[in-house]
Amino acid sequence: MSALSAGLRRALPRLNRRRVVPAAAALAVLAAAAVWAVRPAADPWSSEDLRLAGDGVELDARFYLPADRAGKVPAVLVAHGFGGTKDSVRSDAESLAEQGYAVLTYTARGFGRSTGEIHLDSPDHEVKDAQRLLDWLATRPEVTTDAANDPKVAVVGGSYGGALALLLAGQDQRVDAIVPQITWNDLGESLVPGGVFKKSWAGYFFGNGAATLTLGGSGRAQEQGDPACGRFAADVCKAYLQMATTGVPDETTSALLRKSSPATVLDKIKAPTLLIQGAVDSLFPLSEADANAKGIAATGTPVKVAWFTGGHDGGEGPGTDSDRVKYLTLQWLEHYLKGEGESPSDAFTWSRVAGFSAMDRDLVTNGYSADAYPGISGSGTTDVTVTGAAQPIANPPNGNPGAISSLPGIGGRLTSLLSGGVAMDIPGQHANWESAPLTDAIDVAGAPTVTVRAASPTGEATLFVKLYDIDPNGTSTLSAGLVAPVRLTGLPADIGQAQPVTVTLPAIVREIEAGHTIRITVATSDQSFLTPATPALYTVAVESTVTLPTLVGTPIADPGSVWWYALAGVLGVIILGLIVLLVIRRILHRRRDVTVVAEHADTPLVVKGLRKAYGDGFVAVQEISFTVQRGQVVGLLGPNGAGKTTTLRVLMGLTQPTAGEIYVFGHRLVSGAPILSRVGALVEGPGFLPHLSGYENLKAYWQATGRPWEDARFSEALEIAGLGDSVHRKTRKYSHGMRQRLAIAQAMLGLPELLVLDEPTDGLDPPQIAEMRRVLQRYATDGRAVLVSSHLLAEVEQTCTHAVVVNKGRIVASGQVDDIVGDSPSVQLDVSDVTTATRVLEELGVASVTTEGESSLIVDMNGTPRSEVVASLVTAGVGVDRLVPRRRLEDAFLSLVGDNSRGSGDR
């Protein structure tokens, strides 16, 4: 753990001003981007809440206006679904306002904070309410009008709101376009399909309406109605109670449901209509939209139909579907309301489940389009043969236990409804007829039909006919959970005498894959429906032919495929950028300075005015200039931190100099300049791959140069290293000295013309140092040159022909070692009597006498011969123990550098 933290600590850059500033800038940009991404954007619309009164009710409404409108704009009335309020359609309203429409949303009477009672979209109540809203819109100065009291308006709504759109358009010709979604054609047929009461959906909605009695109003005074009816109008409530009790609507109930059905006004609708219906909807199946479409189109009004994978059971469906529906809606409004854009084509679009999304477990659908709406009988049909004998099935008393097809009102069941899971049949209460595995896939889109014969001792039977898709593993799926309930009367008791009855199954959209089988199931119960209370035993038979409507469409290009083009674009840009970069580099490479400074062409090394200042202001090298000639062994001498290593680093192209130039054989040296190949180096100690042996390391190094093997002069280098058999041991086991020798050998590989060694004798023992001295002196023959850096005076004095003394980044002396060492004018004298000696010497006329220690004197001779000095002292009776000529480089070094042995830095 500590190793890890140490490693991380090392990995983290040291903080200094140069790093902190860009890091802080980067952080600031990131933070700004994050803030920008989550910033609360100003709404592109404005809204006001209203209470619009009339006909004894007060409607809770909200009016949206686009913020950046110029002049008058057309209006859209958005109606909500059953049990909702103006807030349920908030996001739709907002996005429409964003598109430049004035949007009026309201809570229908009997819901939320609106007063009044629920009359089920009655033309006398809810529809009249909506008409008053149109009146109100016409008075608004922001709304475009066609004529006085005739606003340019479209009505959009789903389910309860969809039916309102249809009924309003049928009753009020001021409506210019409607987009009814997932709604009914005939409420009676929807709630009592095939004569069987859809008890679970009806109960769900009745409960929903009643619930507003206690939940709605939020503190407002509620009219305390009948607890059995909640906010339902008395006649609606009565109709429900009647229907739910008997399962068969009576005359009054039928009339009431009829009145609330768009079917009655379809021929009066003149507003272009976009019908959007969900394929996963056991309440208002696709057949409802089909009936609406046919009725409206009959009068010549433009109608377009679209299906999506969703509905009352399936919700708004997968993202691609809701996007398509939104697009179609906007396109419709754009053309028929704003008068912009081309007229929407007649193309019919639908979608089919393709699988599951990998990212969020959601369903994924593929969109298809066909030139025209084919209805629910498809553009073609495929017959499938199912086999099975007539079978007896039992009707359970009171429908319990009952089979399950869908779970109304649960919502979000899309996944299970389309992939099996929910549907369940009760043994003894159903009979199956199954086909052989399909040889080809069938794209079913529409309502399949089967022919059924049934016999019942009571003469009546309530049956549920379903079509299952069964995969090779036996998993059965009841597509969208849809069943066809049929109530048959006048049945014989004997199946032999039963007449065939054609049953149209609910329209589905499904690809039944090859290898799957189709099963027709006839059941006696379903928990969603009200079945006869008395137990009975029916006999049922299914004719062998099942007709499946098919539809061939063009796949709508998946908008997702655009990302692949984007990817190709990104790759293209990157590759293009790379090419441009390479071309620029090539050009710069061609244009680089390759001139050879003629005067230095034969000089291994010329350093001119070199300066290196680091980013943090530290100046490692102030100014250094020196020359290394062929045949020379030049010592770069200086205390630790004098700038020697920095100089060598610049020399190897590892560090960029701040100023100054370096020429190697006349070629200007920059980082990575090819001329470096004529330089061998040991800088800052050895660097080897620890897992390789010394020999392998040298080999790996030479391979990295890419130069011919025979140029390496391996044997000579190995001899210099003198490692013997150890050369085959891993370098991680080497001693410091061994590594040092191997590094020197590496530097000498290929016998470079200039050898640069940084502290070469570091870690060597005295015999090895002596040997190294000889090697270096020998090396500098044949026109080669050596540059050695050292802080050891003796080494430089003994090894080098020339010396450059640096201190604090400056050269303090340079020249031949002999010159620098020279004949020192001073000697060190050890005498028995310092006082007398001093006096004698001063009489001799020496330049200076300095006492050093108890018995030592440093004497600047000023030309006086040493013999004379000794003679004079002896004559004066002073004993001379020792006379040492001060001609060591140390003297020069110390006198030049001064006694400040502290470096200018630790780099």
């Binding site: 490693g7 990104v570 034969d602 190949s677 011919p708």
Partner: protein
Amino acid sequence: MSTVEAAAGYKASRTLPIWAEVRRQASRRRTQLALGFMALLPVIVLLAFEFGGGRRDDDNDGGGGGAFSSMADLATSGGLNFALFGLAVSASFLLVVVVALFFGDTVASEASWGSLRYLLAVPVPRARLLGVKLIVAGGYSLLALLILVGTGLLIGTLRYGWSPLGSTIAAEIPPAEGVLRLLGITAYLATTLLVVAGLAFLLSVLTDAALGAVGGAVLLFIMSSILDQIDALGDIRSALPTHYADAWMGLLSTPVQTEDMAKGAISAVVYATIFWGAAFYRFTRKDVTS
């Protein structure tokens, strides 16, 4: 007068040949261990299934484990599923570490050994040094991935047979197409790992500590994965490099869903380009002080 620009036989474009770098890395214990473990993992998983089997029927907790548990249940259904399982369990961490190791260690370790300066003094041009290191690290990462898939496929097929590629989210895929899907998944994973590769390589250039580069890349990758789980971040998460890490599952459904994979590939390629670009920019300008 000697005016030749370089020593005999020296050519900048011939320095540090790719094979030399391959050998440099191949001789390292960490390379051998990483590659060896890739081959060993499927064997370990196989042994775990063999000896730990028999009690798996009591974990039918439904959606609890989600896609993962279903993938584990299917792993023994055939070689393709076994190889897929090996990939899936390695994708989120093991492969990240391995790729971070190959890319994060490559420059930083040379720096910490001190051999980097000698390579630069050869001189190997800095851009070339990075380029060769990048190619070789990429090659080893790909090799590791292929070893993992190949070994999984081989021993899975030997033990569990050659069966269609099954998944809980779609119909079975016939073996021949299943191999293509598996290769596609491998290719997508390789693409998403470019983010780690880029990040680790950048850190490798910025620091001399190999551990720091590898650990830093893994750390940031995990941080991104954690942030991706915070729903409150909303759409910002799409910009996280790990957001599309699981998009390969789209290849298990029929027809394949590739939208998220395309997005993921764009994200990975862009991130890798930025990171590698920064690495090249920095390295070709910096003072090598190690």
